[in-house]
Every structure is written in structure tokens, then in C-alpha cells.
């Protein structure tokens, strides 16, 4: 398998685009014509060939451009990457997990040679070659979590487990749906989810936490989450909200198909072997409405989901102000036909 990496941007002139192949493999998050919160965890044990679920850490045509965008964000605001002092071992655990997984799943792109604790890592798409000593932080240019997450698509949080709770004590967060690592670092599972409406009352977080506290090594799980983003912008951070906020008000019936994007998070959770922490990658996929409606099933279904979504959720997800224009646009692609079960296009 070869991947052609796009030359594209996620800010300013927004040249981000999805190829026809990327559209077909998009992780469309709705398996039925309506949506409500649920725990919706399933084993992350592979999936349909070519889909983003097939490999442990999906690498796609946006890889190189996403890593460039991360570098820009970190240069502007180094607080997007933080690790509390007790989390370094978890950082090494995560570095190992990613390097082993990527070198096995994408041997033409990544190579890992190990001789005891003397490791040799080659990342061909980013042109990186590094020899280092595993568990010796002086042999890497930065901390282990920062090192590997500068080379891995998606945001990443490392969750410490103690006192019957999970604590967000480290993370690399540059492509987030409007939450601040700098503010939330050190919080427990209930605290960092506090702003989410409805789900607490539904018992979603209590059940999810109970499940995750018992997560086993070698048995990662995944779920999809979603929101809406105007323009293909990765850095929709609260820190920069006053900079990207005005773009949210630029949607018109003429440009909504091109500018309005469905933002999908493929969230995976992994028990780490030495630290007993949990790695929580949050991988972001963006697709414009006009690309979504090229798959008739998705056009019909997205129309029904967004039309019928409770106001409170549209408000929380930040697109209430644009919902009428979005729903009007999508209605043109909904002929009322039945949709097949599951998330994949027909």
C-alpha cells in the first residue's frame, strides 16, 4: 500500500481536501438515522480492510500536513503539550506502543530496530531517523510523549489510574473540539467531562469509567464522537476561540457545502504495561458536507440526524447558529428512502 501525502493547510488559506479514496474510508459516525449519547465502546481489534479501523494507529493522506500544523500550533503555544512529572513512564509506554504498532502495520513507512534498550527508529514520511536508549530521556530531543505525538496524528491524553478514577495528567492537544488541556490537566474523569450536557444524568460517564478502570492490556477499545466545524481547522481550541470564532458566522446557503465540515473523532483507549496508565488517542477526521453527500446514504442520514438533534446538543456542539442553513442544504440530498444499517456507505 502506498499513500500519497497531501500538500495542504488547516488554517489561513485552508487547502485541506479529501481524495475520493479518503471520502470512501471516512469514519462516518452514525449507524442509524438519529443520535443520542451512549458509551458505544467496541473492541479496537481491526476492522474492514482500508477503513480507519483496520490498523492500530491509522495513517492517511493527511499525515504529513497534520504534523506540520501541530508544529505551528506548538510553536505558538507550548502549553498544548504538558506532562505532570509522574507521567514520564506512561510516555515511554506510549512511545513503545506507537513505534511497535506503526512499524508492524506500515513497514514501508516506519521501521523500528531494537537491540535490548538500544532502539533505532525510522519515520520515512517525516524524514526522521533517531537512535536512542529506551527509558533514558536524555537520548531524545524532548520527552517521550512529546516525541512520539509529534509523529502521530490525533490528540493524545495519558490518563493515570488511582483512587478509583482516571486523571488526565499528560497530553498533546492541538486538534481539539474546543477544550483546553492547560485548564483540564490534573482533572479526574468526571471533572473534565463536567461541561457535557445530559450525559451525566444518563449515567454515561459512570458506566464508561467503570468499564475503563478494568481495561486490560492487549484489549484496546474504540468509539466515535463527532461535532461540526466551519472550515477544515484542526486547532479549534478555546485558547484561540477569539481568532477562529468569527469564521463560524461566515456560513451562507451558497458556501455551506464547501465550508461546513463534519468533524469525527476516532477515540481509542489502551492500557499501558509499565505505568498502568491509559493512553487515549483522539484522532480527528474532517469532511465537507459536499463530500459527504457524494455517498447518498450519508447525505440522507446526516440530514435526519442533524434535523432531529435536541437543541441542547446542537448548542453544546457549537453549531446551533448554523443548523438551519446546514439542514436546508442537506434536505436537498434526502429523498426519504430507507438507509441501510451500519456506518459504511452503500
Amino acid at each position: 500500500m502506498t499513500i500519497r501525502f497531501n500538500d495542504e493547510t488547516f488554517r489561513d488559506d485552508y487547502t485541506f481536501h479529501n481524495s475520493p479514496e479518503a471520502i470512501r474510508r471516512f469514519p462516518f459516525p452514525f449507524d442509524q438515522d438519529s443520535y443520542m449519547y451512549s458509551v458505544n465502546l467496541e473492541p479496537h481489534a481491526g476492522g474492514r480492510a482500508g477503513s480507519p479501523f483496520q490498523n492500530r494507529f491509522d495513517v492517511d493522506e493527511h499525515y504529513v500536513a497534520e504534523m506540520k500544523d501541530r508544529e505551528i500550533t506548538l510553536a505558538e503555544d507550548p502549553l498544548r503539550c504538558q506532562s505532570l512529572p509522574h507521567m514520564e513512564l506512561a510516555g515511554w509506554d506510549f512511545l513503545e506502543l506507537v513505534m511497535v504498532s506503526k512499524s508492524e502495520d506500515y513497514p514501508e513507512l516506519f521501521t523500528l530496530n531494537r537491540d535490548g534498550d538500544r532502539w533505532h527508529w525510522i519515520n520515512r514520511p517525516l524524514g526522521i531517523e533517531q537512535r536512542f536508549t529506551f527509558l533514558d530521556p536524555t537520548t531524545l530531543p524532548c520527552g517521550p510523549m512529546e516525541y512520539i505525538t509529534r509523529q502521530t496524528q490525533g490528540d493524545h491524553a495519558l490518563l493515570d489510574q488511582r483512587d478509583g478514577n482516571l486523571w488526565m495528567d499528560a497530553g498533546m492537544v492541538t486538534s481539539q473540539a474546543d477544550w483546553s488541556l492547560d485548564f483540564d490537566i490534573g482533572m479526574n474523569f468526571y471533572e473534565w467531562h463536567a461541561p457535557v450536557p445530559k450525559a451525566h444524568e444518563m449515567g454515561v460517564f459512570q458506566r464508561a469509567l467503570k468499564f475503563l478502570l478494568n481495561l486490560q492490556q492487549g484489549a484496546p477499545v474504540r468509539r466515535l464522537n463527532w461535532t461540526m466545524t466551519v472550515n477544515p481547522r484542526l486547532d479549534t481550541s478555546p485558547e484561540n476561540y477569539h481568532k477562529w470564532g468569527p469564521e463560524k458566522r461566515t456560513i451562507t446557503p451558497e458556501n455551506v457545502g464547501a465550508k461546513q465540515h463534519l468533524r469525527v473523532e476516532l477515540q481509542t483507549l489502551w492500557r499501558l504495561p509499565r505505568s498502568n496508565a491509559i493512553a487515549f488517542p483522539i484522532r480527528c477526521y474532517l469532511m465537507s458536507l459536499e463530500d459527504i453527500v457524494t455517498q447518498p446514504k450519508w447525505g440522507r442520514r446526516l440530514h435526519r440526524v442533524l434535523r432531529d438533534l435536541p437543541d441542547e446538543l446542537a448548542e453544546y456542539k457549537g453549531f446551533a447558529v448554523n443548523r438551519p442553513v446546514i439542514v436546508d442544504y442537506l434536505a436537498r440530498f434526502d429523498d426519504g428512502a430507507d438507509t441501510s444499517p451500519g456506518i459504511f456507505p452503500d
Binding site: 502549553l79 483546553s180 492547560d182 490534573g186 471533572e191 463536567a194 451525566h200 476561540y241 468569527p246
Partner: protein, 200 residues
């Protein structure tokens, strides 16, 4: 001034219970203004709580100092501000023995900062009690410039560092000891909702 009853809110918003004495266990007490009354009631419930107590009080214009001094804490200190008390408080946290109880009483700004320092010093959360008394002004962090604005009583308010107009969230960081402030007119610059007094 009685204990403040806050309306129900989200899970990260701190809640405060009345202080409960732990007998003559070593104690560190930090209070400001009307928080003195919580300590007076604590000592009335069990005077032994003062036997091994180090009490730091920031009057902030309140007149409770003499009555607090008379409680007979092992060490009593009045400070003109939190920042003036900070090095002494940090030393006391550093010197704290296993089993030391921390009592925080007063405004949310004082409790938030006192808690953040204590957690950073490694005090276990179950050794920390806090009771709110007095002003319901909030200590706010601007999510944009990261500056802290003390004693915020209105929503929205102006960040004292970067000047953005921020709305007051209930989302609270124990690590920072502050609530989160977010630009209120980010999407529609200049269109700011009417300013209101914040409520408990």
C-alpha cells in the same frame, strides 16, 4: 455571615461542606475575611482542634482577628494578603507531618489558591476541608492569555491582563485554583451581553 449555599452546578464546580474538627491532630488553617467565623465555629465544636494548629488569617478589612488570636492556636499569624502569606503557607505545607489536617475557610479565591498549593505540595485530598464564607467573587483564568483576574463579581467581565471580555464558566481547575473565563464576543466581536452580578 452564614455558610454560603451554592446552587447545583456541573461536576467540576467545587462544593463546600461545614468544617468538621479532627480533634488534636496537627492542623494547618488558612482563612480570609468572613472565613474566620467558620474557624470560630470549628473551635467551639472542639477546642482541642487548636492544640497543634498553625493558623494563618488574612483579615481583608474584617475585624475578626482578635477573636481568632484568642482561640489559642499553637501558631497564629495575620497576613495582609494571600501573596504576603504565600511563602509562610508553602513552608507550613512542606513541614506538614503525616496526618496533618488542612482547613480552608473564606472566599473562593482563597480556597482555590490554598487548595492548589496544597495539592501541588502533595497533601492528600482527603486531608483537606474547605468551607465558603463571605464574598462569592470568583478567581478567573482567562483561557486566552492565561492571566488570572481576582475577585470577579460580574458576568461578563474584562480580563485584567489582555482586556478581552470574558464570560464566567462554572468549569473549575483545582490545579490552578480558578474558574475558566472565555471570550464572550468571539463570534460577533463587539456584541456583548448585558453585565450581571454573578450568583451563588
Amino acid at each position: 455571615m452564614p455558610r454560603t449555599e451554592f446552587s447545583p452546578s456541573i461536576a467540576s464546580r467545587p462544593t463546600y461542606a461545614p468544617l468538621r474538627p479532627h480533634g488534636a491532630a496537627p492542623a494547618l488553617m488558612l482563612a480570609d475575611a468572613e472565613g474566620a467565623e467558620a474557624l470560630l465555629e470549628l473551635a467551639a465544636a472542639d477546642p482541642a482542634v487548636m492544640d497543634r494548629a498553625h493558623l494563618i488569617y488574612i483579615p481583608a478589612g474584617a475585624a475578626h482577628g482578635p477573636r481568632l488570636r484568642d482561640l489559642g492556636a499553637k501558631m497564629y499569624h495575620e497576613a495582609p494578603s494571600f501573596s504576603a502569606a504565600l511563602e509562610r503557607y508553602r513552608k507550613a505545607l512542606l513541614d506538614a507531618k503525616m496526618g496533618t489536617q488542612l482547613y480552608l475557610a473564606g472566599t473562593e479565591g482563597l480556597i482555590g489558591q490554598g487548595l492548589a498549593e496544597a495539592l501541588a505540595a502533595g497533601l492528600p485530598a482527603d486531608a483537606i476541608q474547605s468551607e465558603h464564607r463571605g464574598s462569592i467573587a470568583r478567581r478567573m483564568q482567562c483561557v486566552h492569555c492565561k492571566g488570572i483576574t481576582e475577585n470577579v463579581t460580574t458576568d461578563p467581565f474584562t480580563c485584567s491582563h489582555c482586556g478581552l471580555t470574558l464570560f464566567v464558566r462554572d468549569h473549575f481547575s483545582r490545579r490552578l485554583g480558578a474558574f475558566q473565563g472565555v471570550c464572550v464576543d468571539a463570534e460577533t466581536p463587539g456584541i456583548v451581553p448585558e453585565m450581571k452580578e454573578i450568583k451563588a
